[in-house]
Symmetry: C2
Subunit: 196 residues, 2 copies
DNA sequence: ACCTGAACACCGTTCAAGT
DNA sequence: ACCTGAACACCGTTCAAGT
């Protein structure tokens, strides 16, 4: 097989992986389609077959980000001995994501002018569903009233996202963020549990 | 006086006002220094005397955003009859800001590669101080222990910022956001007050 | 002290043409 | 079906020159 086949075959995935790395190292401003193409060894017009424009690439990045974060939260909560620990583990996982991928998180919650695409919306719902699953387990464990769980899930989601946003934007340090998420979830449990 | 004096005299303020409007109507991607210069009736090199580069303009916008949001929160809380209402009013003001200025809020909490500038940091602290003032009043009213207030202020800040982030990114609707902030603050009070 | 205007290097996007 | 490469319009940034 030739060194550089006409059909790259893998271009879409390569572009996304490289874009994620650039995002991590140089932020959104450092992300250029032409540079990604150069580094992938294709012409600057080639990405167009996979991403109609720069925004479509960014959407795909956000989408992957949501799926990954949802998975990490799911994993973190799965190994916890009880609901309180599951919440803390989920919060910690969210914070870790913000620390490691601030620019990606920023992209996932970017204020776009247009309505979010279907694909991004679906991926974002997966993150919300991961939080909802943990909360449902809390209901089954008798921690919350079933009638409160939807609103409580939203409050929890806002709290963790706010903590992550403060970290990603460097308004607080990583270490402050770790303390904050712990306090926030402890307080959430204190306020939300039926048993107080 | 001539129609277009050599010294614009007002260029910095004009650029900032126009930039804020563009941000509101067309988002960050629609914001170009050259276009701002054109609309201000100056050459494309003129803004450089006031903003060394595009990022300096964005920093100035974020700075003004923080000052304005801090003021609006301060005002909102000032007219409340008690601490609980002050918290709710502050939360509502934050949500209103996110609804009216999603792109500006996004800019204020953007994940930049470089550390935030001194000016932006100071302005951001003003927002945090506005929240801290409200919480201090709660301590004086006997709602919280004085030893908890710093950590509680951080939790509150994260909660409102998370709600605002979900709204600005269109992950939830404005109406969901209004319900959420009410629930979140009610739950915050339930979990944080010493009297439960 | 502030603004002009040419120059430079770099983009995103489009599209006819190639394989 | 996928990629090339020229073309276009637009940037941000720099800087000598003007007032």
């Amino acid at each position: 097989m030739p060194d550089r086949p006409f059909h790259h075959g893998n271009l879409r995935a390569v572009l996304l992986d490289q874009a994620e790395a650039v995002l991590r190292e140089r932020g959104l401003d450092g992300l250029s389609l032409r540079e990604l193409a150069r580094e992938a060894g294709v012409s600057h017009g080639a990405p167009r077959k996979h991403f109609i424009d720069r925004n479509a690439l960014l959407d795909a990045l956000a989408e992957r980000g949501f799926v990954r974060l949802a998975d990490e939260i799911h994993q973190a909560a799965a190994h916890a001995p009880d609901h309180a620990h599951a919440l803390q583990a989920a919060g910690s996982a969210y914070v870790r994501f913000a620390v490691k991928e601030p620019a990606l998180l920023d992209l996932m919650f970017a204020a776009k002018v247009d309505a979010p695409s279907e694909a991004v919306r679906t991926a974002a719902e997966r993150l919300f569903a991961a939080m909802a699953d943990i909360m449902s387990a809390g209901v089954e464990a008798g921690v919350y009233d079933a009638s409160d769980v939807d609103r409580l899930t939203l409050v929890l989601s806002a709290t963790v996202q706010g903590t992550a946003s403060l970290i990603a934007s460097r308004r607080i340090t990583t270490s402050q963020g770790e303390g904050l998420i712990k306090d926030a979830i402890t307080l959430f449990l204190a306020g939300a549990s039926t048993a107080h």
